[in-house]
Symmetry: C2
Amino acid sequence: MIVDTGWHKRFRGQGYRLTIPREAILHVLSNTEEHLSAEDIYMVVHQKYPAIGLTTVYRTLDILVQMGVVFKFDFGDGRSRYELTEHFSRKKHHHHLICTMCSRIIDYTDFIDDELELLDRTKKTLSKKHNFQITGHMMQFYGLCEKCKT
Amino acid sequence: MIVDTGWHKRFRGQGYRLTIPREAILHVLSNTEEHLSAEDIYMVVHQKYPAIGLTTVYRTLDILVQMGVVFKFDFGDGRSRYELTEHFSRKKHHHHLICTMCSRIIDYTDFIDDELELLDRTKKTLSKKHNFQITGHMMQFYGLCEKCKT
DNA sequence: ATTATTATTGATAATGGTTATCAATATTAT
DNA sequence: ATAATATTGATAACCATTATCAATAATAAT
Ligand SMILES: [Mn+2]
Ligand SMILES: [Mn+2]
Ligand SMILES: [Zn+2]
Ligand SMILES: [Zn+2]
C-alpha cells in the first residue's frame, strides 16, 4: 500500500509514477545512516519484496539522481554509493572522510558554515568567469582511519 | 634512452625500477594540460612505443598513485582520469569544474588560498576528533558548461 | 663472469558493476 | 473498452579494470 507523503506528486511532476519498488527504495534510503550501494539497497528491499529486481534498483536510483533526490558518490571502492540529498534527508549538509584502506566513511559537519560561505563565493566567481551554471559541489578528505593507520 | 631527472632515485627508493614504459607514461602526464584516462595515455604512448601494452599503463598508474605522484579522479564518465599531483606538476594546486552533460573539465584556482586555510583548519579538527590520519582532499563543482546549459 | 633472485612485461582471460534489450504487465488517457 | 504509455524483471551484453602466467629483463650473490 502506497502512503503518499508528497512523493507521488513529485514523481508525477516529472512524468514518473510512484510505484511499490520506487517507494521501497526510497524507504530504505530514508532509514539508513550508511552509504549504500545499489546492491546493498537491493538486498534490503529484497527481504520485503523478493520480486523486485536489481535492474529496477539501478533504474530507480538513476531517476532519483536525475530528480535531485539522491546524490551518487564514488568513494573509490569500485561501486557507486547513494545518499539522499540534503533537502530530503534528516542528515544536514555534510561531507565525507574516507579511509583509503578499508573504505570506512565518516560524515562530518565541522566548519560547514565557513565552507558554505567560501563555496558560495567560489560559485559566484566561477559561474561568471566560465559561464558555467553550477548545480552542486563535492568535497571529501582521504586518509587512514583509526584501525588502519597502525 | 633513459634520462635521469630524479625519477630513477625516487623509484628505487620504493623498490621499483625506472623503465622505458614508466618513463614514457610519466612523459605523457608531464606534457598534457588534459585529464587523461588510462586508455588516453596508452594511445599516446603507443605512437612512440607500440610494444607497450595497456596493462602496463594501468599497472604504472597504480604505482604512481601509490607513490603520490599521480592523483586518480572520478569525474563520473565511467573511467578514471589521472593528473600529476601538485608537487610534480607545473600546474598549481587547483580544483575542477565538471560539466555533467558533456564531461568537460575546467581547472580553477580561485580562492585557493582561502580554501587551503579552511581545509587546514578542517583537517586539524577532523584528524583529532576522529583519530584519522588525513592524506589528501578533493573538491569539485558540478554543473552545465557554456555549451550545454542553453 | 656465472648463476640465482627478483622485478617487469604484454597477451590473454576473467571479473564485476552497470546498461541495453525485450516481452510481459500494470497504469493512465481516450 | 480500447489505445497509448510507463514500469517491470530476466537475461544478455558491455566495458573498464584486474588477475594470471610464461617470457624476459635487471639486479644481486657467488
Ligand atoms: Mn554522508
Ligand atoms: Mn586538473
Ligand atoms: Zn580504515
Ligand atoms: Zn558541457
